[in-house]
Amino acid sequence: MILSVRDFAIGFQREGQNLVAVDGISFDVAEGETFVIIGESGSGKSLTGMSIAGLQPPTAFVSGSIRFKDREMLKRPDAELRKLRGPEIGLIYQDPLSSLNPVWPVGDQIAETLTAHGLASRAEARKRAVEMLERVRIPDPRRVASAYPHEISGGMRQRAMIAMALAAGPSLLIADEPTTALDVTIKAQMLELLAELKRELSLTIILITHDMGVVAEVADRILVLYAGRIAEVGPADAIMLQPSHPYTAALMTSAMISQTPAKQDLNAIVGGAPGLGAFPAGCRFHPRCPRAQDDCKVIEPPRRKFGSVELACHHPIEAAMPLETARS
């Protein structure tokens, strides 16, 4: 296990109230896998991802444990965490334009990952930056290295971001919605690139997204978060093809637009996801769940093993249900 998260919780103090955004989740990530965290906005997926790298907001309070390569990441001084970010953990984000510093040439920013950690001299780092750009399949890497972020295209920027995240040779890449802002054709390129790099560099990837298509394409294992709690976690195939949790099932079916006959109603989940501080009692999904019963309203479902997956549901979808029939 490269990463092991136990009872991790994170929250904020707002107007004297403790608002828990992520409420006691546990999961493991194995070396070399692509672990996907799915969730809607407000589910706590990004907070979880950032906390793994020790980048939770300074105003947040945390509890539980996050162990990365047997090192406790929570409650570790930032100065030590800093040494891990870059050489051990790389991060990429949703919006590559604003995620790059607009006033520095791209190459310098990549090189900085190396120089800041004392991994290379300035000249050496600059050379390595160009190599990294080449590695992420950027044609004419020399030109791009000396270009400013606004001078290159969106796809190139995201490639440059990846180059920057991987420059110091981390084993874990946390990708927070890396494709969301990209156009369809670029998104495809990026997924392919990530897959190739993962193979070449034997990376472990934690991918955070709400795009089911992306999940389907890359996931080895999936964690489904709903309102700060784990709904379901397990192998991708099991979760995608035979979802047991009603939420997962609903997510999958509502995303299957191309499988729905044209102009017919899609399989939609009623209502909207609850916001921070407005999580319902019992099973947090129960107000929107078609299978909800009385116990769901009061008793929080415990996490249990269910086939190849672990899930938290009082009334899971029992039969190994093919996707088509999951549609009601």
């Binding site: 107007e15 906005s41 949703q94 969301t180 709400h210 909207g272 916001g275 921070l276 501080g277 407005a278």
Partner: protein
């Protein structure tokens, strides 16, 4: 790219400790000074009382007396109306004109907009105090000419602010949506743009009152403003100058009053700004 689905509750800016209440208290006091000076001031602000000439602070004269034996506290109380009143008038007048000007410019065709903004630029090129000095001197001394000259240098700030806001707001989806609905340009300006602009202007106005007060008193101090024995604050400081070493209270209290007032307005402007941001 998902938008926040969580209900965003309107949060009132948390007062910065005791400062905001204190600032509001100062405001209330100033309002009382302005509206009911007769009830608050223990003495006549104008009548001479030579026997009490330049007396240090005491129970009867808490801020001491001036060279005419007049109660400095009473003069400050009565002076609120002049100093703060003029400052508020300047800011309101320039805000009013600037908002109209900026709104027209922001909504106008590019050519007209350009021309209107060039005029504003022109005013920005001027050194403010020099222009105010020249204006005040040419239309004669007095608080009214100070008000006019400061308003002349003050409005372009509002015009620029408002025009910028209008241009920004014009591109906002809700304005486009209203336009698609067929809402007329005037109504769009009135209903979909101005309310947002006003928010910005409110903050600016509040903070500016403090600055305007300082500017008014500065011109008075230079001898362009109020005339003796008007108890205008800047003039009090000017008048106190010859008694600098003999009557510290005469200098200290009017200055402190200006400082308190300006700071109070700044604090409140700040609170308004953070409330808007919330």
């Amino acid at each position: 790219m998902s938008i926040s689905t969580q209900p965003t509750r309107r949060t009132i800016a948390r007062p910065k400790g005791v400062l905001l209440p204190l600032a509001l208290l100062v405001l209330v006091i100033l309002a009382a000074f302005t509206l009911l000076p007769g009830l608050i001031a223990p003495h006549d602000p104008i009548a001479l009382a030579m026997a009490d000439r330049l007396k240090p602070p005491s129970l009867t004269h808490i801020f001491g007396t001036d060279e005419g034996g007049r109660d400095v506290f009473s003069r400050i109380v009565y002076g609120t109306r002049y100093s703060l009143g003029v400052a508020i008038a300047i800011v309101f007048a320039s805000a009013l004109f600037g908002v109209i000007y900026g709104a027209v410019s922001g909504m106008a065709r590019q050519g007209i907009d350009n021309l209107m903004m060039r005029i504003v630029d022109l005013f920005f090129g001027f050194p403010a105090l020099v222009l105010a000095l020249a204006v005040a001197a040419s239309i004669g001394r007095g608080l009214d000419s100070v008000a006019l000259s400061l308003a002349i240098i003050w409005w372009p700030g509002y015009a620029r602010l408002v025009r910028g806001e209008v241009l920004r707001l014009r591109e906002r989806p809700h304005v486009e949506a209203a336009r698609a609905l067929g809402v007329s340009e005037m109504t769009i300006l009135r209903r979909h743009i101005i309310p947002f602009v006003v928010q910005e202007v409110n903050v600016r106005v509040t903070t500016d009152i403090g600055y305007a007060l300082v500017a008014v008193t500065a011109l008075s101090f230079l001898g362009l403003g109020a005339n003796s024995p008007t108890p205008e604050w800047g003039l009090l400081i000017r008048d106190s100058r010859p008694y600098f070493g003999s009557a510290w209270w005469y200098l200290v209290f009017p200055g402190t009053m200006i400082m308190l007032t300006a700071t109070a307005f700044s604090l409140i402007g700040d609170a308004l700004a953070s409330r808007r941001a919330a």
